[in-house]
């Protein structure tokens, strides 16, 4: 791996390489360059995950044509696919060294071992949503219970915007969550559940289920479950698997033919809680 990266840097395949290196006893993201080639020997696969692709987008903001190499776990690759699709990175300018993020249970679905939240306390288990639950268990709660549990979770929100900031596929120049008309500035708790719903809706066709948001949440809100639901609906409705479907983004009319003819509306499946 190290030799490959060195070779790429030397022959100009890439200008920089994003990987990890130990700094002050912490494994940190590190940008390797041709100028300091021997540092590549210190390249390591960090047990901690950072969104290297987000750093890459910041780099291309400065230098649009820079060629970037990076270590890519499965989640990084999925994020890259999404960023290519939404025109935020040019796939021609990105090279990856794919790493197997072992130990990984279901790598293909991104359900890797990093994504096993800590066991939650008894109180949260009683009144909130256990981060370790499977989506179907959460959906099994009855209507009022669902509402109570989710609102308990959302009300904890301290509006740190960490979920958005850490998100590898959040790239908007100005975030709707900062638009006063949608989410009022000032009040804490944020407009429940508008803040989280808006974010959930914007995750459609973007969320690659990396779990970084949940890991970054100081209040342990089970965001992954929420966005898993988003992904599931996107899959059901648009037949689109975010991060692995590399064709058109789901919210595009191109999937249907572009015409202005009124089309018969296909009956969609009945909403389960009606």
């Amino acid at each position: 791996m190290n030799n490959k990266v060195k070779a790429w840097l030397e022959d100009g395949t890439i200008d920089v390489f994003l990987g990890y290196k130990e700094v002050d006893h912490h494994p940190l993201p590190y940008c390797f360059t041709k100028e300091r080639l021997d540092e590549v020997d210190d390249l390591l696969l960090s047990p901690a995950r950072y969104s290297l692709e987000k750093i890459a987008t910041h780099m291309t903001d400065e230098e649009p044509d820079i060629k970037i190499g990076m270590l890519a776990r499965d989640c990084n690759s999925r994020a890259l696919n999404v960023l290519y699709l939404w025109n935020q990175l040019n796939p021609d300018n990105v090279r990856t060294v794919n790493v197997n993020c072992c130990p990984s249970r279901l790598k293909e679905h991104g359900d890797c071992s990093y994504l096993e939240p800590e066991t939650v306390g008894a109180y949260k288990r009683r009144v909130g949503v256990d981060n370790n639950l499977a989506l179907k268990d959460v959906e099994a709660y009855d209507e009022t219970e669902r509402l109570d549990r989710w609102m308990y979770e959302f009300q904890k929100c301290i509006k740190c915007y960490g979920c958005r900031n850490i998100c590898p596929v959040c790239f908007c120049k100005e975030c709707s969550l900062e638009h006063d008309e949608l989410v009022r500035t000032g009040p804490l708790l944020p407009d429940v559940p508008v803040f989280h719903m808006v974010r959930a809706v914007h995750m459609a066709g973007r969320c690659i289920d990396c779990g970084l948001c949940e890991a970054a949440c100081p209040m342990d809100i089970p965001l992954r479950l929420l966005y898993q639901k988003v992904n599931q609906i996107v899959m059901d409705l648009f037949d689109y698997k975010t991060g692995t479907s590399v064709e058109q983004p789901p919210f595009s009319i191109l999937g249907d033919t572009v015409t202005l003819e009124p089309k018969p509306i296909e009956p969609l499946k009945v909403i389960n809680n009606e």
């Binding site: 200008d15 920089v16 994003l18 700094v23 002050d24 912490h26 494994p27 940190l28 993201p29 590190y30 940008c31 360059t33 901690a48 995950r49 950072y50 750093i55 910041h58 780099m59 903001d61 400065e62 230098e63 820079i66 301290i158 509006k159 740190c160 915007y161 960490g162 900031n165 850490i166 890991a215 970054a216 949440c217 100081p218």
Partner: protein
């Protein structure tokens, strides 16, 4: 292209969360929580997340200003320090040292904070010292 990820400690409060500054071509573009930091374990509050903003803020003071005739006028450090010392002395002479309080900030280092309280107690002679992040 120069891209560095610089580890640091959040300066907002006394908790001491580990942060990473993403520095591209000499400019801090973003703050990240340090995943392996024992204090915050990859989490931050809204202030920590926006640490880089006050560095880059256009409102940031980069040189001392003196308020003359109701307006702030740019000045140099020597004059500013001299002016401040003169005014402190005037106040102490007139109202006594306890009329002065020192409020220090989380945005400076521990050592600077130590110096600040030393300054308050030894130089000014007051016990009225406090810190914005007194948790």
């Amino acid at each position: 292209m120069e891209c560095k990820l610089v580890p640091s400690v959040c300066s907002y409060c006394g908790t001491g969360c580990g942060v990473l500054f993403e520095v591209i071509n000499g400019k801090i573009v973003s703050t990240l929580p340090m995943k392996t930091h024992p204090v915050n374990e990859g989490k931050l509050c809204i202030k920590g997340w926006n640490l880089h903003e006050h560095v880059n803020s256009f409102m940031r003071l980069k040189q001392p200003l003196v308020k003359t005739f109701g307006r702030f006028i740019k000045t140099d450090w020597d004059e500013a320090i001299q002016l401040t010392a003169d005014r402190f002395r005037e106040i102490i002479e007139k109202y006594g040292p306890d009329s002065i309080g020192v409020l220090v900030s989380a945005k400076i280092t521990n050592e600077e904070n130590y110096l600040a309280q030393k300054f308050a107690r030894a130089a000014i002679g007051t016990n009225n010292v406090d810190h914005c992040a007194r948790l």
